[in-house]
Amino acid sequence: MTILKSVSSVIAVAGLLLSWSFIVNILTRDVIAENFIMVVEASTSNTPSTSLPRQSSRTPRTSNGHPDLEGFWEGGPLNASHSIEEGCCDPIHARMQSRGPERLGLPDQLVVNPSSGRIPYQPWATEIRTEHLFNMETPTSLEHIDPEDRCLLLGTPRSNYRGDLQIRQSADHIVILYEWTHAYRVIPTDGRPHLSEGINLFNGDSRGHWEGDTLVIDVTNFNDRPWLDSHGSFYSKEMRVIERWRLLDADTLQYEATVEDPAVFTQQWTMAFTMNRIKQSGYEFFEEACWEGVTNKHRLAAGRIAVDAGERRIHTHEGQK
């Protein structure tokens, strides 16, 4: 089953890379990415997220008494990686992915603080983000294209809502493997200090500890290249993320990330969602060789043609219902 699933997604990716529709429909940035999700999630649905604890006495535990988070988990909610504020997308996009209109938008508001559900950008940063929304429609250089579509490491927290993940736990480490671009994080939980300044990483530098039954991961030492979603949501090297992972029951994982970056945002803000356990027995990740197969030159060519024809336009979800 796993292999069938994986082979079919590779075929889907290959088909899309080659198809003319991919070139024509440059409106739809996440075609490759979301088809991959679509295949993976085939027979599952997202449980609505909740911030209320549903702590169960059946919480599985490791030999040292901490909650046992091991196993495979569906990443965060559908469409979140397209926009953590709006989800995705429009009827054309949904039809291309064989989805009904009920799969537009987000299942639940992802940004829970502030209550507006919007990222609290400083005014100058709002302008940069708007520029990203123009450039993504008609890209003329690589940095106009979502880093996800260029196979760069997605960074933290985006990795957690872009495809499935796998958690492994030992006495002094948590390891998270992500299927998308075979990314990983090694998170020491032995109390060692963060890296010193001057080393900046796509995925940041993670240190974990337990607060009761909640795994708290402090992430620093970021570089400023990843985006938080396809809508060009961005941050600076000053960002710090505090993640909180907690089992609600044996098959539901609550995730929260508080984002702080005084250079870009007006205040701390928080996103929250739940992840469902993948219960298929014998499940294995496939090798997701993204960089080895990607090409973006057709999108750039189409973008240049559009810009030359005076068709520069902003990306919106106006058609979204």
């Binding site: 260029r150 030992s170 493997l177 075979h182 080393i199 796509f202 060789a289 960089w291 090409t295």
Partner: protein, 259 residues
């Protein structure tokens, strides 16, 4: 030669023959094999951050120095790679065109065993029923399934192959198949086909050393199986951790132009 000298030679020969096993026995007694610590699951503990320290990344065979290439003693047993005649020619072409043809130039996943002796650290982590090897170089990961499960049906064109392992004493033995034909063994153009089958052996020889041996089999390219071996060294820095080497992200524009 007279009779007495024949007799002396015979006596000496017998003495030598008799003494051989005794010497071997004595050596074994004075140097018992290293017994590694065990993990919580009772397996030999190979965990930690390791790195090769040799010149195999440039050339797995003996080679003289060149510009930006240190001279090196090879890691191939007997130094000979048993290429079929057509493959000797292909290897020569690969060498001559290596500045563009080497998959490393495009930052692709380097395959196995090449990833092991790239000049970057990697981390071994052991969990129940699986061992993870995480590599700093382009965030490559390998899961070595230790639950006795077979390779999936194929053929599958993986860059890093499909790894299934088991323990033989304190040695981790990993069987790897399902490769594509797009990776090389080194920067000198040594290569294989998609019929590649390798068996890796990781044996702890001290708290800070693993002996790494890998048998290479590929009936499309070689006339017989052959072997590489090298020590792997534990990184000693107390604060050592894997960082990132996102090869393509640092040269994205020029690499993307070629695709």
């Amino acid at each position: 030669m007279n009779f007495s000298s024949i007799r002396s030679a015979t006596v000496i020969t017998v003495l030598v023959l008799l003494s051989l096993p005794i010497n071997v026995h004595v050596e074994q007694e004075t140097k018992p094999p290293y017994v590694p610590n065990q993990t919580v699951d009772g397996e030999p503990d190979l965990q930690g951050i390791w790195q090769a320290m040799n010149t195999a990344a440039w050339n797995i065979q003996n080679h003289s120095a060149r510009h930006e290439v240190p001279a090196g003693q090879g890691v191939v047993d007997g130094n000979e790679i048993p290429y079929q005649p057509w493959a000797v020619k292909q290897k020569t072409v690969n060498f001559e065109t290596r500045s563009t043809a080497d998959p490393e130039v495009n930052c692709y996943m380097p395959g196995v065993p090449r990833i092991t002796y790239m000049p970057h650290p990697f981390q071994i982590l052991q969990f129940s029923n699986r061992i993870l090897i995480l590599y700093e170089y382009v965030h490559v990961t390998r899961t070595i399934y230790m639950d006795g499960s077979p390779h999936p049906d194929g053929h599958i064109d993986f860059w890093m192959g499909d790894s299934r392992g088991h323990w033989e004493g304190n040695t981790l033995v990993v069987d790897v198949i399902h490769f594509n034909d797009r990776t090389w063994f080194d920067r000198a153009g040594n290569f294989h086909s998609d019929a590649l089958h390798i068996v890796e052996r990781y044996t702890p020889t001290s708290p800070n050393h693993l002996q790494y041996e890998v048998t290479i089999e590929d009936p499309k390219v070689f006339t017989r199986p052959w072997k590489m071996s090298m020590p792997l060294y534990r990184r000693q820095e107390p604060e050592i951790q894997l960082l990132e080497y996102e090869c393509y992200a640092y040269a994205e524009q020029e690499l993307a132009d070629g695709k």
